[in-house]
Subunit: 290 residues, 2 copies
Amino acid sequence: METKNTIGFIGIGVMGKSMASHLLKAGYQVLVYNRTKSSTDSLVENGAVWKDTVAEVAKEADVVITMVGYPKDVEEVYLGEKGILKNAKEGSYVIDMTTSEPSLAKRIYDEAKAKGIHSLDAPVSGGDVGAKNATLTIMVGGDKDAFEKMMPVLQVMGKNIILQGGAGAGQHTKMCNQIAIASNMIGVSEAMVYAKKAGLDPSKVLESIGAGAAGSWSLSNLAPRMIKGDFEPGFYVKHMVKDMNIALAEAEKMGLWTPGLELSKSLYDEIVRENKENKGTQVLFELLDK
Amino acid sequence: METKNTIGFIGIGVMGKSMASHLLKAGYQVLVYNRTKSSTDSLVENGAVWKDTVAEVAKEADVVITMVGYPKDVEEVYLGEKGILKNAKEGSYVIDMTTSEPSLAKRIYDEAKAKGIHSLDAPVSGGDVGAKNATLTIMVGGDKDAFEKMMPVLQVMGKNIILQGGAGAGQHTKMCNQIAIASNMIGVSEAMVYAKKAGLDPSKVLESIGAGAAGSWSLSNLAPRMIKGDFEPGFYVKHMVKDMNIALAEAEKMGLWTPGLELSKSLYDEIVRENKENKGTQVLFELLDK
Protein backbone atom coordinates (compact mmCIF):
# COMPACT_ATOMS: atom_id res chain seq x y z
CA MET A 1 0.00 0.00 0.00
CA GLU A 2 1.21 3.43 -0.96
CA THR A 3 2.06 5.76 1.89
CA LYS A 4 0.75 9.20 1.01
CA ASN A 5 2.73 12.31 1.76
CA THR A 6 1.79 14.63 4.58
CA ILE A 7 0.71 17.92 3.06
CA GLY A 8 0.72 21.22 4.88
CA PHE A 9 -1.79 23.76 3.60
CA ILE A 10 -1.32 27.39 4.59
CA GLY A 11 -4.02 29.89 3.67
CA ILE A 12 -7.57 28.58 4.03
CA GLY A 13 -9.70 31.13 2.18
CA VAL A 14 -12.51 30.31 -0.25
CA MET A 15 -10.04 28.77 -2.71
CA GLY A 16 -7.78 27.11 -0.17
CA LYS A 17 -10.65 25.45 1.64
CA SER A 18 -11.87 23.67 -1.50
CA MET A 19 -8.34 22.70 -2.52
CA ALA A 20 -7.39 21.32 0.91
CA SER A 21 -10.68 19.48 1.05
CA HIS A 22 -9.86 17.65 -2.22
CA LEU A 23 -6.48 16.63 -0.78
CA LEU A 24 -8.19 15.20 2.30
CA LYS A 25 -10.64 13.25 0.14
CA ALA A 26 -7.73 11.93 -1.92
CA GLY A 27 -6.33 10.35 1.25
CA TYR A 28 -3.52 12.73 2.15
CA GLN A 29 -2.85 13.69 5.73
CA VAL A 30 -3.40 17.46 5.70
CA LEU A 31 -2.01 19.92 8.23
CA VAL A 32 -3.66 23.31 8.13
CA TYR A 33 -2.79 26.82 9.25
CA ASN A 34 -4.65 30.03 8.65
CA ARG A 35 -4.53 33.49 10.22
CA THR A 36 -8.20 33.14 11.12
CA LYS A 37 -8.43 29.74 12.76
CA SER A 38 -12.20 29.39 12.45
CA SER A 39 -11.92 29.15 8.66
CA THR A 40 -10.31 25.72 9.11
CA ASP A 41 -13.08 24.26 11.31
CA SER A 42 -14.87 22.30 8.62
CA LEU A 43 -11.58 20.89 7.33
CA VAL A 44 -10.58 19.80 10.84
CA GLU A 45 -13.98 18.14 11.27
CA ASN A 46 -13.17 16.17 8.13
CA GLY A 47 -9.78 15.00 9.35
CA ALA A 48 -7.34 17.86 8.80
CA VAL A 49 -4.97 18.63 11.67
CA TRP A 50 -4.73 22.20 12.94
CA LYS A 51 -1.24 23.57 13.62
CA ASP A 52 -0.67 26.73 15.62
CA THR A 53 2.12 28.16 13.47
CA VAL A 54 3.51 28.16 9.96
CA ALA A 55 6.73 26.75 11.40
CA GLU A 56 4.97 23.70 12.84
CA VAL A 57 3.33 22.98 9.50
CA ALA A 58 6.66 23.27 7.72
CA LYS A 59 8.50 21.04 10.20
CA GLU A 60 6.10 18.13 9.79
CA ALA A 61 5.01 18.27 6.16
CA ASP A 62 6.55 16.56 3.14
CA VAL A 63 4.82 19.07 0.89
CA VAL A 64 3.81 22.61 1.89
CA ILE A 65 1.19 24.36 -0.24
CA THR A 66 0.45 28.05 0.22
CA MET A 67 -2.55 30.02 -0.97
CA VAL A 68 -2.34 33.39 0.73
CA GLY A 69 -3.23 36.94 -0.23
CA TYR A 70 -0.55 39.35 -1.34
CA PRO A 71 3.13 39.10 -2.28
CA LYS A 72 4.03 40.52 1.15
CA ASP A 73 2.19 37.58 2.73
CA VAL A 74 4.03 35.15 0.47
CA GLU A 75 7.32 36.77 1.42
CA GLU A 76 6.63 36.58 5.13
CA VAL A 77 5.30 33.03 5.05
CA TYR A 78 8.27 31.73 3.07
CA LEU A 79 11.20 33.96 3.95
CA GLY A 80 10.30 35.29 7.41
CA GLU A 81 12.16 34.27 10.58
CA LYS A 82 9.33 31.92 11.53
CA GLY A 83 8.61 31.04 7.93
CA ILE A 84 8.55 27.90 5.83
CA LEU A 85 12.12 27.82 4.52
CA LYS A 86 13.65 28.24 7.97
CA ASN A 87 11.67 25.23 9.18
CA ALA A 88 10.96 22.86 6.32
CA LYS A 89 12.62 19.44 6.06
CA GLU A 90 15.47 18.90 3.64
CA GLY A 91 14.11 17.15 0.57
CA SER A 92 10.61 18.51 1.11
CA TYR A 93 8.54 20.34 -1.51
CA VAL A 94 7.00 23.80 -1.31
CA ILE A 95 4.35 25.00 -3.77
CA ASP A 96 3.12 28.58 -3.78
CA MET A 97 -0.26 28.71 -5.51
CA THR A 98 -0.91 32.37 -4.66
CA THR A 99 -0.81 34.77 -7.60
CA SER A 100 2.36 36.63 -6.72
CA GLU A 101 5.54 38.21 -8.08
CA PRO A 102 7.69 36.22 -10.52
CA SER A 103 10.82 37.76 -8.99
CA LEU A 104 9.72 36.70 -5.50
CA ALA A 105 9.11 33.17 -6.81
CA LYS A 106 12.72 33.13 -8.00
CA ARG A 107 14.02 34.34 -4.63
CA ILE A 108 12.06 31.63 -2.84
CA TYR A 109 13.33 29.04 -5.31
CA ASP A 110 16.95 30.09 -4.77
CA GLU A 111 16.73 30.12 -0.98
CA ALA A 112 14.86 26.81 -0.99
CA LYS A 113 17.44 25.20 -3.24
CA ALA A 114 20.27 26.31 -0.97
CA LYS A 115 18.54 24.35 1.81
CA GLY A 116 17.80 21.26 -0.30
CA ILE A 117 14.11 22.13 -0.59
CA HIS A 118 12.24 21.88 -3.90
CA SER A 119 10.20 24.97 -4.80
CA LEU A 120 7.48 25.43 -7.40
CA ASP A 121 5.40 28.50 -8.21
CA ALA A 122 1.98 27.29 -9.30
CA PRO A 123 -0.69 29.99 -9.51
CA VAL A 124 -4.10 28.98 -10.75
CA SER A 125 -7.03 30.24 -12.76
CA GLY A 126 -10.60 29.04 -12.60
CA GLY A 127 -11.71 30.84 -9.44
CA ASP A 128 -13.86 29.48 -6.65
CA VAL A 129 -15.83 27.27 -9.05
CA GLY A 130 -12.63 25.72 -10.44
CA ALA A 131 -11.35 25.15 -6.91
CA LYS A 132 -14.63 23.54 -5.85
CA ASN A 133 -14.79 21.26 -8.90
CA ALA A 134 -11.05 20.50 -8.92
CA THR A 135 -10.83 21.87 -12.44
CA LEU A 136 -8.31 24.64 -11.81
CA THR A 137 -5.79 25.51 -14.48
CA ILE A 138 -2.37 25.35 -12.80
CA MET A 139 0.56 27.25 -14.33
CA VAL A 140 3.84 25.97 -12.96
CA GLY A 141 7.39 27.29 -12.78
CA GLY A 142 10.35 25.34 -11.39
CA ASP A 143 12.40 22.20 -11.99
CA LYS A 144 11.04 19.42 -14.14
CA ASP A 145 11.81 16.73 -11.54
CA ALA A 146 9.94 18.55 -8.81
CA PHE A 147 7.06 19.23 -11.21
CA GLU A 148 6.76 15.55 -12.06
CA LYS A 149 7.00 14.48 -8.43
CA MET A 150 4.23 16.90 -7.47
CA MET A 151 1.97 16.12 -10.42
CA PRO A 152 -0.18 13.62 -8.46
CA VAL A 153 -0.79 16.26 -5.79
CA LEU A 154 -1.61 18.98 -8.32
CA GLN A 155 -3.93 16.64 -10.21
CA VAL A 156 -6.09 16.37 -7.13
CA MET A 157 -6.86 20.09 -7.44
CA GLY A 158 -6.74 20.88 -11.14
CA LYS A 159 -6.95 19.67 -14.71
CA ASN A 160 -4.87 21.74 -17.11
CA ILE A 161 -1.47 21.54 -15.40
CA ILE A 162 1.50 22.79 -17.41
CA LEU A 163 5.15 23.37 -16.57
CA GLN A 164 5.80 26.72 -18.21
CA GLY A 165 9.52 26.99 -17.44
CA GLY A 166 11.91 27.61 -14.56
CA ALA A 167 11.16 29.37 -11.29
CA GLY A 168 8.81 32.33 -11.82
CA ALA A 169 7.44 31.04 -15.13
CA GLY A 170 4.17 30.01 -13.50
CA GLN A 171 3.70 33.53 -12.16
CA HIS A 172 4.68 35.08 -15.49
CA THR A 173 2.08 32.92 -17.24
CA LYS A 174 -0.56 34.01 -14.77
CA MET A 175 0.39 37.62 -15.55
CA CYS A 176 -0.27 36.93 -19.26
CA ASN A 177 -3.69 35.65 -18.22
CA GLN A 178 -4.46 38.77 -16.18
CA ILE A 179 -3.13 41.12 -18.87
CA ALA A 180 -5.46 39.57 -21.46
CA ILE A 181 -8.39 39.89 -19.06
CA ALA A 182 -7.56 43.48 -18.05
CA SER A 183 -8.19 45.03 -21.47
CA ASN A 184 -10.96 42.65 -22.43
CA MET A 185 -12.97 43.75 -19.39
CA ILE A 186 -12.92 47.29 -20.80
CA GLY A 187 -14.18 46.11 -24.19
CA VAL A 188 -16.93 43.96 -22.72
CA SER A 189 -18.07 46.76 -20.40
CA GLU A 190 -18.04 49.41 -23.12
CA ALA A 191 -19.94 47.15 -25.51
CA MET A 192 -22.65 46.52 -22.92
CA VAL A 193 -22.93 50.20 -21.99
CA TYR A 194 -23.18 51.08 -25.69
CA ALA A 195 -25.93 48.48 -26.17
CA LYS A 196 -27.90 49.91 -23.28
CA LYS A 197 -27.48 53.55 -24.30
CA ALA A 198 -28.31 52.81 -27.94
CA GLY A 199 -31.66 51.44 -26.80
CA LEU A 200 -30.88 47.86 -27.74
CA ASP A 201 -31.78 44.84 -25.65
CA PRO A 202 -28.32 43.94 -24.27
CA SER A 203 -29.26 40.27 -23.76
CA LYS A 204 -30.30 39.99 -27.38
CA VAL A 205 -27.08 41.73 -28.43
CA LEU A 206 -25.18 39.00 -26.57
CA GLU A 207 -27.02 36.40 -28.65
CA SER A 208 -25.68 38.07 -31.77
CA ILE A 209 -22.11 38.79 -30.69
CA GLY A 210 -21.34 36.14 -28.06
CA ALA A 211 -20.34 33.30 -30.35
CA GLY A 212 -18.32 35.19 -32.96
CA ALA A 213 -15.09 37.17 -33.17
CA ALA A 214 -16.12 39.35 -30.20
CA GLY A 215 -16.72 36.29 -28.06
CA SER A 216 -14.85 35.73 -24.82
CA TRP A 217 -15.21 34.09 -21.44
CA SER A 218 -15.84 37.51 -19.92
CA LEU A 219 -18.51 38.37 -22.46
CA SER A 220 -20.30 35.05 -21.89
CA ASN A 221 -19.95 34.97 -18.12
CA LEU A 222 -19.73 38.55 -16.87
CA ALA A 223 -21.77 40.57 -19.39
CA PRO A 224 -25.00 38.84 -18.30
CA ARG A 225 -24.23 39.91 -14.72
CA MET A 226 -23.58 43.48 -15.87
CA ILE A 227 -26.97 43.52 -17.58
CA LYS A 228 -28.70 42.30 -14.43
CA GLY A 229 -26.82 44.81 -12.27
CA ASP A 230 -25.26 41.90 -10.36
CA PHE A 231 -21.87 43.12 -9.18
CA GLU A 232 -21.25 40.47 -6.53
CA PRO A 233 -17.72 39.14 -6.64
CA GLY A 234 -16.76 36.20 -8.82
CA PHE A 235 -13.32 37.75 -8.95
CA TYR A 236 -12.74 40.67 -6.56
CA VAL A 237 -11.75 44.11 -7.84
CA LYS A 238 -9.11 44.26 -5.08
CA HIS A 239 -7.49 41.05 -6.34
CA MET A 240 -7.55 42.24 -9.93
CA VAL A 241 -5.83 45.45 -8.84
CA LYS A 242 -3.22 43.43 -6.92
CA ASP A 243 -2.51 41.32 -10.00
CA MET A 244 -2.35 44.34 -12.32
CA ASN A 245 0.13 46.02 -9.98
CA ILE A 246 2.38 42.97 -10.20
CA ALA A 247 2.02 42.81 -13.98
CA LEU A 248 2.77 46.53 -14.38
CA ALA A 249 5.89 46.26 -12.21
CA GLU A 250 7.13 43.26 -14.21
CA ALA A 251 6.30 44.96 -17.51
CA GLU A 252 8.25 48.01 -16.41
CA LYS A 253 11.27 45.87 -15.52
CA MET A 254 11.15 44.36 -19.01
CA GLY A 255 10.65 47.74 -20.67
CA LEU A 256 7.26 46.71 -22.10
CA TRP A 257 4.69 49.12 -23.46
CA THR A 258 1.32 48.07 -21.99
CA PRO A 259 -1.18 50.88 -22.62
CA GLY A 260 -4.22 48.62 -22.22
CA LEU A 261 -3.05 47.29 -18.88
CA GLU A 262 -2.31 50.83 -17.72
CA LEU A 263 -5.74 52.04 -18.78
CA SER A 264 -7.46 49.12 -17.07
CA LYS A 265 -5.47 49.71 -13.88
CA SER A 266 -6.46 53.40 -13.86
CA LEU A 267 -10.14 52.50 -14.29
CA TYR A 268 -10.06 49.92 -11.50
CA ASP A 269 -8.17 52.41 -9.29
CA GLU A 270 -11.13 54.73 -9.78
CA ILE A 271 -13.47 51.88 -8.76
CA VAL A 272 -11.41 51.39 -5.59
CA ARG A 273 -11.69 55.13 -4.88
CA GLU A 274 -15.45 54.62 -5.07
CA ASN A 275 -15.06 52.00 -2.32
CA LYS A 276 -16.08 49.14 -4.57
CA GLU A 277 -12.95 47.00 -4.12
CA ASN A 278 -15.06 44.15 -2.74
CA LYS A 279 -17.29 44.03 -5.81
CA GLY A 280 -16.67 41.71 -8.75
CA THR A 281 -14.59 42.92 -11.70
CA GLN A 282 -17.77 43.30 -13.79
CA VAL A 283 -18.52 46.46 -11.79
CA LEU A 284 -16.43 48.25 -14.42
CA PHE A 285 -19.73 48.40 -16.34
CA GLU A 286 -21.13 50.65 -13.61
CA LEU A 287 -18.14 53.01 -13.80
CA LEU A 288 -18.59 53.46 -17.55
CA ASP A 289 -22.39 53.63 -17.44
CA LYS A 290 -22.55 57.29 -16.50
CA MET B 1 -43.94 25.69 -57.83
CA GLU B 2 -42.57 28.63 -55.92
CA THR B 3 -41.33 31.56 -57.97
CA LYS B 4 -38.16 32.87 -56.38
CA ASN B 5 -37.49 36.56 -56.12
CA THR B 6 -35.00 38.33 -58.31
CA ILE B 7 -32.17 39.54 -56.12
CA GLY B 8 -29.83 42.37 -57.02
CA PHE B 9 -26.39 42.17 -55.40
CA ILE B 10 -24.27 45.30 -55.35
CA GLY B 11 -20.69 45.05 -54.10
CA ILE B 12 -18.88 41.90 -55.14
CA GLY B 13 -15.80 41.81 -52.94
CA VAL B 14 -14.46 38.75 -51.10
CA MET B 15 -17.55 38.64 -48.88
CA GLY B 16 -20.09 39.63 -51.51
CA LYS B 17 -18.87 37.04 -53.98
CA SER B 18 -19.43 34.15 -51.57
CA MET B 19 -22.80 35.52 -50.46
CA ALA B 20 -24.10 36.07 -54.01
CA SER B 21 -22.84 32.64 -54.98
CA HIS B 22 -24.96 31.04 -52.22
CA LEU B 23 -28.01 32.92 -53.51
CA LEU B 24 -27.39 31.58 -57.02
CA LYS B 25 -27.05 28.04 -55.70
CA ALA B 26 -30.30 28.47 -53.77
CA GLY B 27 -32.07 29.11 -57.06
CA TYR B 28 -32.54 32.87 -57.03
CA GLN B 29 -32.05 34.93 -60.14
CA VAL B 30 -29.16 37.22 -59.21
CA LEU B 31 -28.34 40.52 -60.87
CA VAL B 32 -24.87 41.81 -60.06
CA TYR B 33 -23.12 45.16 -60.16
CA ASN B 34 -19.65 46.06 -58.92
CA ARG B 35 -17.31 49.00 -59.52
CA THR B 36 -14.73 46.57 -60.86
CA LYS B 37 -16.65 44.44 -63.34
CA SER B 38 -14.09 41.63 -63.53
CA SER B 39 -14.83 40.64 -59.91
CA THR B 40 -18.23 39.42 -61.07
CA ASP B 41 -16.91 37.14 -63.85
CA SER B 42 -17.12 33.87 -61.95
CA LEU B 43 -20.63 34.70 -60.74
CA VAL B 44 -21.77 35.51 -64.29
CA GLU B 45 -20.29 32.20 -65.47
CA ASN B 46 -22.50 30.53 -62.88
CA GLY B 47 -25.67 32.24 -64.01
CA ALA B 48 -25.66 35.72 -62.51
CA VAL B 49 -26.64 38.58 -64.80
CA TRP B 50 -24.36 41.60 -65.08
CA LYS B 51 -25.99 45.03 -65.03
CA ASP B 52 -24.16 48.17 -66.08
CA THR B 53 -25.49 50.44 -63.34
CA VAL B 54 -26.86 50.44 -59.82
CA ALA B 55 -30.06 51.92 -61.22
CA GLU B 56 -30.62 49.01 -63.59
CA VAL B 57 -30.19 46.53 -60.74
CA ALA B 58 -32.64 48.46 -58.60
CA LYS B 59 -35.24 48.75 -61.39
CA GLU B 60 -35.40 45.01 -61.99
CA ALA B 61 -34.85 43.44 -58.57
CA ASP B 62 -37.42 42.45 -55.96
CA VAL B 63 -34.70 42.51 -53.33
CA VAL B 64 -31.52 44.60 -53.47
CA ILE B 65 -28.61 43.56 -51.25
CA THR B 66 -25.58 45.80 -50.82
CA MET B 67 -22.16 44.91 -49.46
CA VAL B 68 -19.95 47.87 -50.22
CA GLY B 69 -17.02 49.53 -48.46
CA TYR B 70 -17.56 52.72 -46.51
CA PRO B 71 -20.55 54.72 -45.28
CA LYS B 72 -19.97 57.22 -48.11
CA ASP B 73 -20.37 54.33 -50.59
CA VAL B 74 -23.56 53.24 -48.87
CA GLU B 75 -24.86 56.80 -49.00
CA GLU B 76 -24.10 57.18 -52.69
CA VAL B 77 -25.46 53.77 -53.66
CA TYR B 78 -28.73 54.30 -51.79
CA LEU B 79 -29.36 58.04 -51.74
CA GLY B 80 -27.48 59.27 -54.82
CA GLU B 81 -29.22 60.62 -57.92
CA LYS B 82 -28.59 57.33 -59.74
CA GLY B 83 -28.98 55.29 -56.59
CA ILE B 84 -31.20 52.49 -55.40
CA LEU B 85 -34.03 54.43 -53.78
CA LYS B 86 -34.57 56.64 -56.85
CA ASN B 87 -34.96 53.53 -59.00
CA ALA B 88 -36.27 50.65 -56.91
CA LYS B 89 -39.77 49.26 -57.37
CA GLU B 90 -42.48 50.10 -54.90
CA GLY B 91 -42.90 47.17 -52.53
CA SER B 92 -39.37 45.94 -53.06
CA TYR B 93 -36.86 45.21 -50.29
CA VAL B 94 -33.41 46.69 -49.77
CA ILE B 95 -30.89 45.16 -47.36
CA ASP B 96 -27.61 46.88 -46.57
CA MET B 97 -25.17 44.30 -45.21
CA THR B 98 -22.21 46.68 -45.15
CA THR B 99 -20.97 47.67 -41.70
CA SER B 100 -22.04 51.31 -41.74
CA GLU B 101 -23.49 54.14 -39.69
CA PRO B 102 -26.65 53.53 -37.65
CA SER B 103 -27.84 57.07 -38.40
CA LEU B 104 -27.38 56.51 -42.13
CA ALA B 105 -29.36 53.27 -41.84
CA LYS B 106 -32.19 55.31 -40.33
CA ARG B 107 -32.04 57.90 -43.12
CA ILE B 108 -32.20 55.17 -45.75
CA TYR B 109 -35.08 53.52 -43.91
CA ASP B 110 -37.04 56.78 -43.78
CA GLU B 111 -36.48 57.66 -47.43
CA ALA B 112 -37.28 54.09 -48.46
CA LYS B 113 -40.47 54.04 -46.44
CA ALA B 114 -41.63 57.29 -48.04
CA LYS B 115 -41.37 55.49 -51.40
CA GLY B 116 -43.05 52.27 -50.25
CA ILE B 117 -39.76 50.38 -50.14
CA HIS B 118 -38.84 48.12 -47.21
CA SER B 119 -35.37 48.72 -45.77
CA LEU B 120 -33.28 46.56 -43.43
CA ASP B 121 -29.79 47.15 -42.10
CA ALA B 122 -28.14 43.77 -41.71
CA PRO B 123 -24.39 43.87 -41.09
CA VAL B 124 -22.62 40.60 -40.50
CA SER B 125 -19.80 39.03 -38.56
CA GLY B 126 -17.90 35.89 -39.37
CA GLY B 127 -15.59 37.24 -42.06
CA ASP B 128 -14.60 35.59 -45.32
CA VAL B 129 -14.83 32.11 -43.78
CA GLY B 130 -18.35 32.76 -42.51
CA ALA B 131 -19.35 34.12 -45.91
CA LYS B 132 -17.87 31.09 -47.70
CA ASN B 133 -19.53 28.58 -45.37
CA ALA B 134 -22.83 30.50 -45.16
CA THR B 135 -22.43 30.70 -41.39
CA LEU B 136 -22.44 34.49 -41.04
CA THR B 137 -23.99 36.06 -37.99
CA ILE B 138 -26.50 38.63 -39.27
CA MET B 139 -27.59 41.51 -37.02
CA VAL B 140 -30.73 43.12 -38.33
CA GLY B 141 -32.51 46.41 -37.80
CA GLY B 142 -35.88 47.35 -39.33
CA ASP B 143 -39.53 46.33 -39.35
CA LYS B 144 -40.54 42.90 -38.13
CA ASP B 145 -42.64 42.20 -41.24
CA ALA B 146 -39.78 42.96 -43.58
CA PHE B 147 -37.42 40.91 -41.42
CA GLU B 148 -39.69 37.90 -41.57
CA LYS B 149 -40.22 38.26 -45.32
CA MET B 150 -36.49 38.41 -45.91
CA MET B 151 -35.60 35.58 -43.51
CA PRO B 152 -35.44 32.91 -46.25
CA VAL B 153 -32.99 35.09 -48.20
CA LEU B 154 -30.82 35.81 -45.16
CA GLN B 155 -30.81 32.13 -44.18
CA VAL B 156 -29.08 31.31 -47.44
CA MET B 157 -26.09 33.37 -46.26
CA GLY B 158 -26.01 33.03 -42.48
CA LYS B 159 -27.03 31.11 -39.40
CA ASN B 160 -27.42 33.32 -36.35
CA ILE B 161 -29.93 35.85 -37.68
CA ILE B 162 -31.52 38.15 -35.12
CA LEU B 163 -33.78 41.20 -35.41
CA GLN B 164 -32.22 43.57 -32.90
CA GLY B 165 -34.74 46.39 -33.18
CA GLY B 166 -35.85 49.16 -35.52
CA ALA B 167 -33.83 50.76 -38.32
CA GLY B 168 -30.18 51.16 -37.28
CA ALA B 169 -30.31 48.49 -34.57
CA GLY B 170 -28.39 46.03 -36.74
CA GLN B 171 -25.60 48.57 -37.17
CA HIS B 172 -25.63 49.45 -33.48
CA THR B 173 -25.29 45.76 -32.62
CA LYS B 174 -22.35 45.44 -34.99
CA MET B 175 -20.76 48.41 -33.20
CA CYS B 176 -21.09 46.53 -29.90
CA ASN B 177 -19.27 43.66 -31.57
CA GLN B 178 -16.44 45.88 -32.79
CA ILE B 179 -16.15 47.73 -29.47
CA ALA B 180 -15.70 44.43 -27.61
CA ILE B 181 -13.06 43.35 -30.13
CA ALA B 182 -11.21 46.69 -30.10
CA SER B 183 -10.07 46.50 -26.47
CA ASN B 184 -9.65 42.74 -26.43
CA MET B 185 -7.12 43.00 -29.26
CA ILE B 186 -4.97 45.16 -27.00
CA GLY B 187 -5.14 42.65 -24.16
CA VAL B 188 -4.36 39.69 -26.41
CA SER B 189 -1.44 41.52 -28.03
CA GLU B 190 0.01 42.71 -24.71
CA ALA B 191 -0.28 39.24 -23.19
CA MET B 192 1.58 37.69 -26.11
CA VAL B 193 4.31 40.36 -26.07
CA TYR B 194 4.70 39.86 -22.31
CA ALA B 195 5.00 36.08 -22.79
CA LYS B 196 7.70 36.54 -25.39
CA LYS B 197 9.67 39.15 -23.44
CA ALA B 198 9.45 37.14 -20.20
CA GLY B 199 11.16 34.26 -21.99
CA LEU B 200 8.13 32.00 -21.94
CA ASP B 201 7.03 29.80 -24.83
CA PRO B 202 3.98 31.80 -26.05
CA SER B 203 2.35 28.70 -27.56
CA LYS B 204 2.57 26.89 -24.26
CA VAL B 205 1.19 29.97 -22.50
CA LEU B 206 -1.82 29.76 -24.81
CA GLU B 207 -2.36 26.16 -23.66
CA SER B 208 -2.59 27.43 -20.09
CA ILE B 209 -4.67 30.56 -20.60
CA GLY B 210 -6.71 29.87 -23.74
CA ALA B 211 -9.55 27.93 -22.17
CA GLY B 212 -10.07 29.92 -18.96
CA ALA B 213 -11.21 33.39 -17.94
CA ALA B 214 -8.73 35.02 -20.33
CA GLY B 215 -10.08 33.01 -23.24
CA SER B 216 -11.54 34.67 -26.30
CA TRP B 217 -12.01 34.16 -30.01
CA SER B 218 -9.13 36.55 -30.67
CA LEU B 219 -6.82 34.74 -28.26
CA SER B 220 -7.60 31.37 -29.84
CA ASN B 221 -7.54 32.51 -33.46
CA LEU B 222 -5.24 35.52 -33.70
CA ALA B 223 -2.63 34.98 -30.96
CA PRO B 224 -1.23 31.90 -32.78
CA ARG B 225 -0.76 34.09 -35.86
CA MET B 226 0.98 36.76 -33.77
CA ILE B 227 3.38 34.12 -32.44
CA LYS B 228 4.18 32.92 -35.96
CA GLY B 229 4.64 36.49 -37.21
CA ASP B 230 1.76 35.94 -39.64
CA PHE B 231 0.13 39.34 -40.12
CA GLU B 232 -1.82 38.54 -43.28
CA PRO B 233 -5.36 39.89 -43.18
CA GLY B 234 -8.19 37.87 -41.74
CA PHE B 235 -9.78 41.20 -40.88
CA TYR B 236 -8.05 44.26 -42.37
CA VAL B 237 -6.66 47.03 -40.15
CA LYS B 238 -8.27 49.57 -42.50
CA HIS B 239 -11.72 48.06 -41.95
CA MET B 240 -11.24 47.92 -38.20
CA VAL B 241 -10.31 51.62 -38.26
CA LYS B 242 -13.40 52.40 -40.35
CA ASP B 243 -15.61 50.56 -37.86
CA MET B 244 -13.99 52.21 -34.85
CA ASN B 245 -14.50 55.64 -36.41
CA ILE B 246 -18.21 54.89 -36.77
CA ALA B 247 -18.42 53.56 -33.21
CA LEU B 248 -16.58 56.59 -31.80
CA ALA B 249 -18.86 59.00 -33.63
CA GLU B 250 -21.97 57.19 -32.35
CA ALA B 251 -20.55 56.99 -28.84
CA GLU B 252 -19.90 60.72 -28.89
CA LYS B 253 -23.48 61.41 -30.00
CA MET B 254 -24.73 59.37 -27.05
CA GLY B 255 -22.28 61.01 -24.63
CA LEU B 256 -20.57 57.68 -23.86
CA TRP B 257 -17.18 57.36 -22.20
CA THR B 258 -15.23 54.77 -24.23
CA PRO B 259 -11.58 54.96 -23.13
CA GLY B 260 -10.75 51.46 -24.42
CA LEU B 261 -12.17 52.15 -27.85
CA GLU B 262 -10.28 55.45 -27.98
CA LEU B 263 -7.02 53.78 -27.00
CA SER B 264 -7.49 51.02 -29.56
CA LYS B 265 -8.27 53.56 -32.26
CA SER B 266 -5.11 55.53 -31.43
CA LEU B 267 -2.99 52.36 -31.62
CA TYR B 268 -4.48 51.32 -34.97
CA ASP B 269 -4.04 54.88 -36.26
CA GLU B 270 -0.35 54.45 -35.48
CA ILE B 271 -0.36 51.18 -37.43
CA VAL B 272 -1.91 53.00 -40.40
CA ARG B 273 0.82 55.65 -40.13
CA GLU B 274 3.29 52.76 -40.45
CA ASN B 275 1.54 51.88 -43.74
CA LYS B 276 0.20 48.59 -42.42
CA GLU B 277 -3.49 49.24 -43.10
CA ASN B 278 -3.65 46.20 -45.37
CA LYS B 279 -2.38 43.85 -42.67
CA GLY B 280 -4.64 41.87 -40.37
CA THR B 281 -5.70 43.34 -37.03
CA GLN B 282 -3.27 40.98 -35.23
CA VAL B 283 -0.44 43.24 -36.44
CA LEU B 284 -1.09 45.20 -33.23
CA PHE B 285 1.28 42.65 -31.66
CA GLU B 286 4.07 44.01 -33.83
CA LEU B 287 3.38 47.60 -32.76
CA LEU B 288 3.62 46.67 -29.08
CA ASP B 289 6.60 44.31 -29.51
CA LYS B 290 9.20 47.03 -29.50
